[in-house]
């Protein structure tokens, strides 16, 4: 899937298994061009989410290596991936959490204007002082996505950003992603169960146990 363009990500001989009987993929080799926009599909349990985690550096492969040449990477986990309550955080606080965290970063003044600008992009300005648990699924997902985008990442990894939300919110999210890819050249990889809803400019990719290839329409 690599072109002659600049490569932002390359994976060589990746092996990963949850336990001895549950291997998700082996000897997986691929590369991703800078500015690509991929929708990742494949059978359940093939390791789509795991692949995103490997790229994000959250998980380590059993074998093989991944080289990412993006200074800023953002990763959106599945909505209830780790069952945290999100507690009393309001929308503004959630989005501000996207700003790179460093020890003692309480001293760093958060650029609240930037936070508000991103909230405006997702039409969340009126809800900025609402707690996350007071929002609909679609609004929550938009707030979480704004958190990922506030650093304007070079590589954006989204794990099912459109699961459990209404059609209009899914469309809003797709439009914003298309704009970021076309106008800002952001490299985007999305795992989605709504693959049929994505059109140009994204490419549909199919993950198998040993390969990542362009999906046939």
């Amino acid at each position: 899937m690599s072109r002659l363009n600049e490569t932002i990500l390359s994976a060589n001989g990746l092996d990963y298994h949850y336990d001895d009987d549950n291997r998700v993929f082996s000897d997986l080799t691929f590369s991703v061009d800078k500015g690509a926009y991929y929708i990742l599909s494949g059978p359940n349990g093939i390791g789509k989410s795991t692949l995103l985690k490997l790229i994000a550096g959250i998980a380590k492969p059993d074998k093989g290596s991944i080289t990412v040449s993006a200074p800023r990477i953002s990763y959106l986990s599945q909505l209830d991936a780790d069952k945290r309550s999100s507690f009393a955080l309001n929308v503004r606080e959630i989005v501000s959490l996207g700003i790179k965290n460093r020890p003692f970063s309480f001293m760093k003044t958060i650029d609240w204007q930037k936070v508000d600008d991103w909230l405006a992009v997702f039409k969340l300005t009126d809800l900025k002082y609402r707690r996350l648990d007071e929002l609909s699924g679609g609004q929550q997902q938009k707030a979480r996505l704004a958190k990922c985008l506030i650093t304007q990442p070079d590589l954006l990894l989204l794990d099912e950003p459109d699961t459990g939300i209404d059609e209009s919110s899914r469309e809003d999210i797709r439009n914003i992603l298309s704009h970021l890819n076309k106008e800002h050249g952001m490299t985007i990889i999305v795992v989605s169960h709504h693959i049929e809803e994505y059109g140009e400019p994204c490419k549909k990719m199919l993950l198998s146990s040993s390969d990542l290839t362009e999906a046939l329409e």
Partner: protein, 281 residues
């Protein structure tokens, strides 16, 4: 015995040094314990405080038998227990609450055995606390530990907020999740053990959780929830302290009851306000 009749003016209480020490203790605890409570509740781990406070009892029992300082033993024992809890949680991530039950069972079993060898009246004072008998040494020790806890809560405020939002995304955002969780649990154990020593092991978790429950009813952000929890805790503690002093009742118990009354009133008021709000606003 001091009774209501003896105290014409509640401010007379300030002339007693034991009252001032107790006031200082509840002020320090009201500043730090709610912050611990909000952090733990955000991570769905409020029961850790309860487990650690019971664990500190085993440490206190060792201290009483060995003739050492019960507070030091409580802190050491709770810190070791907290490291074990974190290790078991990581080993069984899907059944993380099991670690609390395992450590709690071990600690209570050990406390039951060790309790046979120590004076029952002294041991009882650690169960329910005895705020009016704390010494200046205890105030200083508690102050030092809580100051360290406060510094931790401020320095790692954003990291902990991110951790309460999503552990996976915290990892992706560069937070060292495993070391931070470990430091987090050890700091919590130290604060809880030191607090157990003054307000009683059985009452610590109420000091941690009830103000958070009150604050959650009105807090519109994580920051505001922290502030409201502190205000709620401080107000209940001061009212409870004066009340207990005036009518000669057990201080810790009265403060917990005042805290619960505040919680019930908060639930009623916020419930009425929600009803009054027109739909769709």
């Amino acid at each position: 015995m001091i009774s209501l009749l003896d105290i014409m003016n509640p401010f007379d209480a300030f002339s007693f040094s034991f009252f001032n020490r107790a006031l200082l203790i509840v002020a320090i605890l009201s500043l730090v314990l709610p912050l611990v409570g909000v952090r733990l509740a955000g991570r769905g781990a409020s029961m850790i405080a309860d487990t650690l406070s019971h664990t500190s009892l085993a440490g206190i029992a060792i201290g009483l038998i060995s003739g050492g300082l019960p507070m030091v033993w409580a802190i050491v024992f709770s810190a070791i227990a907290s490291i074990l809890i974190e290790a078991i949680r990581r080993k069984f991530p899907k059944y993380s609450e099991l670690s609390l039950t395992i450590i709690l069972s071990f600690s209570l079993g050990l406390t039951g055995i060790l309790g046979n060898f120590s004076s029952s009246s002294r041991f009882e004072s650690y169960l329910f606390g005895s705020l009016f008998t704390v010494s200046w040494d205890q105030v200083i020790a508690l102050g030092a530990i809580c100051a360290a806890g406060l510094v931790y809560e401020i320095l790692f405020y954003r990291s902990n907020m991110l951790l309460s939002y999503s552990e996976i995304e915290a990892k992706a955002n560069g937070v060292k999740v495993v070391p931070l969780s470990l430091i987090d649990t050890v700091i919590t154990s130290m604060i809880v053990a030191a607090a157990s020593n003054t307000i009683g092991s059985l009452l610590v978790s109420s000091f941690i959780s009830i103000p958070v429950a009150c604050a959650l009813r009105g807090g519109k952000s994580n920051f505001m929830t922290n502030i409201l929890a502190i205000v709620c805790s401080l107000a209940s503690a001061i009212v409870g302290l004066f009340l207990a002093f005036s009518i000669s009742l057990h201080v810790g118990g009265v403060i917990v009851m005042v805290n619960l009354i505040v919680l019930i009133v908060t639930i009623i008021i916020t419930g009425i306000r929600k009803r009054k709000k027109p739909k769709g606003s």
